[in-house]
């Protein structure tokens, strides 16, 4: 709950609040992800702005009822713009003791704690490695506890259908959902439609889930347990048609759109890896869009097949996460040398090595910039939010084809699995991506390594008469592309490849800043920390601090006005979910003593920690600050 707090506990009272953060937590078999998605969609349909954070165990099916098996889904929905799923919870729904103890830390004092009291039996406690029930602990007093016998109530609701106990109990989650919907005044329709579609072949189950959902709602309305229900007004988002979108889905759709805009077939070579696999799954669905997906034997084959396809003229895309990206390094070098357009997408996760596969992190930036032998620069872009994956994918492909260069996109586990409302673009109104393949004239010598104004070489594709040529990983002679061991030529080519990437800066839109254009503090961020940083800076500004926010999409090359921007602030703070990777680049390039705020915990920043850091680094006196600045600039 962002600004307001509940005021009284009169039954059936409706409180209008500006926003709510709620987490649904239960066993991974309890369908928490499904519930969360339903609540998200319903809230979005109600016109709220929403942001989500699913958090599931690394195991496929960790043993039921254990702490390791807890699956959570957090949603913030609000009447204003939200950029994060929220720091602290206004409400926590805990389906079992393990879910309670592993999540209670995030519930704010006075927050609503709803538990399924039927699952606090001795055996449940034992599975959660507890000796006594947490519901009997004194600290429970800190929260508004609602003990609901969800299992019993659900069984009762579906009794007449004659289901087995197991099947009946599976409907519990919809009972919980019904309560939550009542609590926040959400409409049941979308979820009822979902149940109908999902269980259309199992009419009994469909009926049972519907009943459970309605029973939950009815229970909320009837019981005295909840002080009040809450109402969150629609947010005023820009005009348009919206849908909820997840990061990996937006990435896939962005890729499909880029292919469409450039009139290209897409060849997608990949190898499954968490948290990138859903891009493979998503793209595999759309064969009627002319998307060829190949699950290769490994990541090396994945990128190599993609390079082969690119040589043939297709839009080549490969995706992975850190460990798989490491395996692609050698082939990325080949793509740099043979100068073909290609997208390499890294959905980052906790590292090093296998690390924390289901957790988020931003620690692959330097790997993508430098993790190849020799001088092998490539443009690197980073998406900032689920919906932004769409735009980033389109822009990356635009760059790849204009400059004939492999381009890297960084996403991360947080963005990939998170979701947010997305203003659906009209594809027909998007700017086309223009690609030309040269044709040949008999008798004219073709120069595969000739250059256009951007230093791009021609993308001549097999099948074109007279343009037969050979490419490869050995150094190329300028122009002809023949193998060359010449010293001066090598240096020239190294510079051309570097300059070509540097040239991308010419088409990058100038970097924007939110907040004062000069002042005490600039928060410089990139990638998935966008939401937390933006929210924290806005809060800082609200508090009257001299702080601005600059969020980078372009990690290489940097926008050309970045140096100038950095010079306009007394300090620069770079929050990153790593040990300071962007910070190193900024310090090296601009020689400014940028300060890092670094967390490597496999989870996103909380807004409050950033707010605190900003407070620490600013005087809180905006006017004084700007006068100070004037004197400094003078």
């Amino acid at each position: 709950m962002s600004t307001d707090t509940p005021q009284a506990h009169a039954a059936k009272q409706v409180q209008v609040v500006s926003g709510i953060t709620v987490r649904l937590a239960g066993d991974s078999g309890d369908g928490m992800q499904l519930l969360g998605t339903q609540l998200t969609n319903t809230s979005a349909l109600a016109g709220n702005d929403v942001a989500t954070f699913p958090d599931f165990p690394a195991e496929i099916r960790a043993p039921r009822g254990t702490r390791a098996g807890v699956s959570g889904f957090q949603v913030q929905f609000a009447a204003h713009e939200v950029h994060t799923p929220g720091d602290t919870l206004d409400a926590l729904v805990a389906m079992n003791p393990a879910a309670l103890v592993t999540n209670i830390g995030d519930l704010r004092k006075g927050g609503l704690l709803i538990v399924n009291e039927d699952s606090f039996e001795d055996k449940d406690l034992k599975l959660a490695k507890l000796t006594t029930s947490p519901l009997d602990e004194p600290w429970v007093e800190n929260y508004r506890l609602a003990k609901v016998p969800m299992t019993k109530l659900t069984r009762t609701a579906v009794q007449s259908l004659g289901l087995g106990v197991k099947e009946a109990d599976r409907c519990r989650n919809f009972f919980a959902m019904g309560m939550v919907y009542w609590l926040y005044g959400r409409d049941l329709d979308a979820t009822l439609r979902f149940i109908q579609a999902k269980f259309s072949k199992l009419p009994d189950i469909q009926e049972a889930n519907e009943r459970a959902l309605r029973a939950g709602w009815a229970f909320g309305e009837t019981t005295e347990l909840f002080g009040s229900s809450y109402q969150v007004e629609p947010a005023t988002l820009p005009k348009g048609t919206y849908r909820n979108i997840m990061g990996n889905q937006a990435m896939a759709w962005g890729l499909m759109t880029a292919a469409h805009l450039s009139g290209k077939e897409m060849f997608y070579g990949s190898y499954p890896i968490t948290p990138a696999s859903d891009i493979l799954h998503e793209l595999s669905k759309y064969k009627n869009f002319g998307i060829c997906t190949v699950q290769a034997e490994d990541e090396i084959a994945a990128i190599c097949s993609t390079i082969g396809a690119a040589y043939g003229g297709a839009m080549g895309v490969t995706t992975s996460s850190g460990p798989g990206i490491a395996l692609k390094a050698e082939a990325m070098g080949l793509a740099v040398m043979i100068e073909l357009p290609l997208l390499v997408i890294d959905v980052q996760r906790g590292g090093p090595s296998t690390g924390l596969p289901t957790k988020t992190e931003q620690a692959d930036l330097l790997q993508l910039l430098f993790g190849r032998n020799g001088e092998a620069p490539v443009p690197v872009l980073a998406a900032r939010s689920p919906g932004d994956c769409f735009d980033t994918a389109v822009e990356a492909w635009r760059i790849a084809t204009q400059f004939m260069v492999p381009v890297v996109i960084l996403s991360d586990g947080y963005i990939a699995n998170g979701s947010e409302p997305w203003a659906i673009p009209d594809v027909n109104s998007l700017k086309p991506i223009t690609i030309t393949h040269p044709t040949g004239e008999a008798g004219e010598k073709f120069l595969p390594y000739s250059r256009d104004a951007d230093l791009a070489r021609p993308w001549a594709i097999p099948g074109t008469p007279e343009l037969m040529h050979r490419v490869g990983g050995l150094e190329k002679q300028d122009g002809t592309g023949d193998v060359s061991y010449d010293a001066a030529n090598h240096e020239k080519m190294v510079h051309i490849r570097a300059q070509k990437v540097a040239n991308v800066a010419k088409i990058i839109p100038p970097q924007e800043v939110i907040g004062p254009s000069e002042g005490e503090l600039l928060v410089l961020s990139w990638g998935g920390t966008y939401g937390a940083c933006r929210t924290a800076v806005l809060k800082g500004i609200e508090e009257g601090r001299s702080v601005a926010h600059c969020h980078l999409r372009h990690m290489n090359p940097f926008p050309s006005n970045l140096g100038q921007i950095l010079g306009n602030y007394e300090s620069v703070l770079i929050p990153e979910l790593n040990l300071g990777q962007l910070r190193m680049l900024i310090r090296a390039k601009y020689l400014i003593d940028a300060v890092g705020y670094n967390r490597v915990q496999g989870k996103p920043f909380s807004v409050s920690e950033l707010v605190e850091k900003i407070a620490e680094m600013t005087s809180g006196k905006q006017n004084m600050a700007s006068s100070k600045l004037t004197s400094r600039a003078g």
């Binding site: 759709w253 869009f289 002319g290």
Partner: protein, 338 residues
């Protein structure tokens, strides 16, 4: 393939690049036979792509006046797979060495075969690493002394034919660099096959492993040490075609045809379409116990990868119509903000 195609000659397939193999290297002969064979495919230069890995043999694409890529060590099969899926209209050849395909590239080799991508892979087997100046390779015999094995190699060598068969390749053949007619004919057969055709070529590296295959190369001995496979024909070999292979249970044995006590009908007959057990048995016939079969071990027709991958696109379109992004984006739950 245009109708008014000019008739090409071997020379048309030569690029303008200086050839940089050692004088006397077996690679020259393979290059020559490839150039000689290609015109018979009736394809224009621009329809053909040569993709190689790294090694002496892998410089091959530079010498061909076609499209080509000299890629990275061991990965040519993966590159070629992507190219064929994206561009099934192109004729693709993969050129690789014994190290390139069976050491670093062993996995891609197997997966290429199981997918049965429609291309021809020519494996230049010289039983040595040529380009890196003479280390042992996965096909080097046990005990071979090389720079990296001064006391002799200790691993059991891989047999390319056995590995190909293990991965259930649809076309498997073997030839010898110096047996130029046989080589050209074998390359032609391979190029005609729909699916992955693997041709192992015994290739002499006269600098680092001279004479590794002299038994199969020397005109004086080769009739007795190799056996030309012919579909539907009994297995007969020898300068005077006086020896044959007979089956004893599951074991082949060499029999003399000289005294007439064994007739052709008693011999094992070659069948390119046979179940793989015959191929297995042929692969196991190694010098000096047996003559080594050369020619086409196997040639069966099974679905090819890119047909099926692309076929799924077609049938998806047939079933669901060509994709419409605007429609897709607006499917499911959406809402309007006015």
């Amino acid at each position: 393939m245009s109708a008014a195609l000019p008739v090409l000659t071997a020379n048309d397939f030569a690029s303008d690049q200086d050839i940089r193999w050692c004088p006397g290297c077996g690679d020259y002969s393979i290059l020559a036979q490839m150039k000689k064979m290609l015109p018979s495919l009736g394809l224009p230069l621009e329809q053909i792509v040569f993709i190689s890995g790294i090694g002496c043999s892998s410089r091959f694409p530079y010498y061909m006046n076609t499209y080509g890529m000299h890629s990275i060590h061991g990965r040519a099969p993966a590159l070629a797979t992507g190219l064929r899926v994206a561009r099934p209209d192109l004729k693709v050849f993969v050129i690789t060495g014994d190290g390139d395909s069976l050491s670093i590239g062993g996995n891609h080799f197997i997966h290429l075969l199981r997918r049965n991508v429609n291309l021809t892979l020519v494996l230049f087997n010289n039983r040595i690493y040529g380009l890196t100046k003479g280390q042992y390779s996965p096909t080097s015999p046990e005990g071979q002394v090389t720079k990296s094995t001064p006391m002799g190699a200790v691993d059991h060598p891989l047999n390319p034919i056995s590995i190909a068969l293990g991965a259930e390749a649809s076309f498997i053949a073997r030839s010898v660099d110096s047996n130029i007619k046989h080589l050209a004919a074998t390359l032609y057969r391979a190029a005609q096959h729909r699916g992955t055709s693997v041709v192992e070529v015994y290739q002499n590296c006269n600098v680092f492993n001279d004479g590794a295959f002299s038994y199969a190369q020397d005109k004086a001995t080769r009739d007795d040490t190799t056996l030309e496979l012919e579909h539907g024909k009994p297995l007969i070999f020898g300068k005077n075609r006086d020896k044959g292979i007979r089956l004893n249970g599951l074991h082949p044995e060499v029999v003399s045809l000289a005294d007439g006590s064994v007739s052709h009908d008693d011999l094992l007959f070659h069948d390119e379409k046979a179940e793989s057990t015959l191929v297995h048995l042929l692969a196991k016939m190694r010098h000096p116990q047996f003559p080594e079969p050369i020619g086409v071990f196997r040639d069966i027709e099974i679905p090819i990868f890119e047909d099926q991958v692309r076929g799924q696109l077609d049938s998806a379109i047939a079933k669901r119509g060509a994709g419409d992004l605007n429609k897709l984006f607006r499917s499911g739950d959406t809402w309007e903000v006015a």
